[in-house]
Symmetry: C2
Subunit: 319 residues, 2 copies
């Protein structure tokens, strides 16, 4: 019996897959060599989750991996009609990023509530300028995206005394359907975007949406850049429709040094790092190894992507 071939779409540093020695043949590819090597692979590990190369390289009806795992929560950079139509199983990195992202969001919300960016500005100017800040307890947040990331954000903001409404695609139990979003957003202090990028969510945070918010509201995007229309957000900040925003994700990443976004007053820009706490790459590698062991034993894989919807459905997540 030949050991299965794992093809790794690499990025630096590569995953530590030493535990699979003798149980799999590990090969490596980059964006350039991916198409040629895909047909020989049983498994594709998308370690470079910032790449769009899989979409371009996917072999259609030809020989192809039976399983694709991406070291990310979102699968939008991966999916294409050919992959969606194939019997290949796609899994994501559920479980690795939720808590770090929730902590990051809590940090941003507290930084806004406590006016921390301004404090740092004033410090640079040697200016002692006492201000009243906002109490966080009792404020209202709307978290858009009812998957595990959104739920963890809800849990952590709840723990800080924030009243959180969670908005998903469809209403179920404690989750609001998207039809409630406008009403909830209109009285929110914090709007957190943590939805998957799909045709239904692309550009959903636009001028119309920002126009609904309170002038004191803040918008935070830790989902995908294309959930928000960046130009509309900039305009909303310039016109003071909202008080501030933080983007950790962008329409194009990395953000070009010449982008006007860096300098928009009230906008906090960070380099897509909300989920990446020390040791995250090791955790992603360990997760893949554990999933590979299940796959090799013929067991069903956890958190498999619904290829039609474009995300892992949350029916298997306990509320």
């Amino acid at each position: 019996m030949t050991a299965p071939v794992i093809l790794v779409l690499d990025s630096d540093p590569p995953p530590r897959l030493g535990r699979l020695t003798g149980r799999a043949v590990v090969r490596h590819a980059d964006e350039r060599t991916l198409a040629a090597r895909l047909p020989e692979a049983d498994v594709l590990l998308v370690w470079d989750f910032t790449s769009d190369a899989v979409r371009a390289a996917w072999p259609g009806d030809g020989p192809r991996p039976r399983w694709v795992h991406t070291a990310s929560a979102g699968v939008d950079r991966l999916l294409c009609p050919e992959l969606a139509a194939s019997p290949t199983v796609v899994t994501n990195a559920r479980g690795v990023f939720e808590r770090p992202i929730a902590e990051y969001v809590a940090g941003l919300v507290l930084a806004f509530a406590k006016d921390l960016p301004r404090t740092l500005d004033l410090q640079r100017q040697h200016r002692w300028s006492h201000r009243e800040t906002r109490g966080l307890a009792g404020t209202r947040a709307v978290v858009v995206g009812a998957g595990p990331v959104g739920r963890e954000i809800m849990r952590l903001l709840n723990a800080l005394g924030v009243r959180v409404a969670l908005v998903g695609r469809t209403a179920r139990r404690t989750i609001h359907g998207v039809e409630d979003l406008d009403r909830l957003a209109a009285s929110a202090d914090w709007v957190i975007a943590a939805a998957p990028l799909t045709e239904a969510t692309r550009g959903m945070f636009d001028a119309r949406f920002f126009g609904l918010l309170q002038p004191s509201a803040h918008f935070v995007n830790v989902g995908r850049g294309l959930l928000a229309v960046e130009e509309d957000l900039v305009e909303a900040l310039r016109r003071r429709w909202i008080a501030g925003a933080a983007l950790d994700v962008f329409q194009e990443e990395p953000l070009d040094p010449s982008s006007p976004l860096w300098d928009v007053p009230g906008l906090l820009v960070s380099p897509h790092m909300s989920g990446d706490t020390a040791g995250w790459r090791d955790r992603l590698g360990e997760q893949f190894v554990a999933m590979y062991e299940r796959w090799a034993a013929g067991e069903p894989l956890p958190h498999t992507v619904d290829l039609r919807r474009g995300y892992v459905p949350s029916t298997d997540i306990p509320d």
Copy 2:
């Protein structure tokens, strides 16, 4: 029957005491006129809690207020041997500042864990520089000061998954005595100073103490500036004994524009505002009015200061 005289050591804006119309005569003083007006007052409201004037103006054995209330948590600026020896009751503003200060500390701790000051620096430079940040859950904090502020900080950090040790003057139930501080600090990620300023706590955070900490540790002072030896903290940061610090309180306030503290790498300077969320002055005024009503009715006052120890003992706080 003559209405009691309330003398207000004023600051701008003054307290709203309209509810006491007809039930008290409200007079005002500033630092200059305080000594002359104190002997005629039944009650002194120290609204300008940044002032040391009471110490200088206290009339010794002469006629004096029977009750002094300060619109602050700390009473260190107020107490003097003459006041401590007098039968005058002193009360503080327990209940107003705890939650805001705890939120502020949580915001600082998350800002450090998520490297937010550096993110803002990089944004100004238009630099996309992905970094790994720290997971907050499972880190260890030592909160020094087991009064209501310290306890609220513990509660909120606990809610964020931080393991918190609370250190007070003496060990009791879930509180460590100060004899445990060195041992606890040596393995702490976060050391939070929230103790009252007394002879026992003055300068307790000094070179010896900072030398005990881990190089990855951060120090946060939201108590009183004189708890920490500022020069020693600066030296600890310069020598990288610790990774960072935040001071909201200082040996001298406001901090002079020429102070070297503004520019110390790794030090976050804020203008004594951790407890001051929107509406705080109204809450302080309402609290005084409610306490006045109890006092006028001859009822015992809550949170009275132990004049010998220099703070409100916490025996009446449920653990």
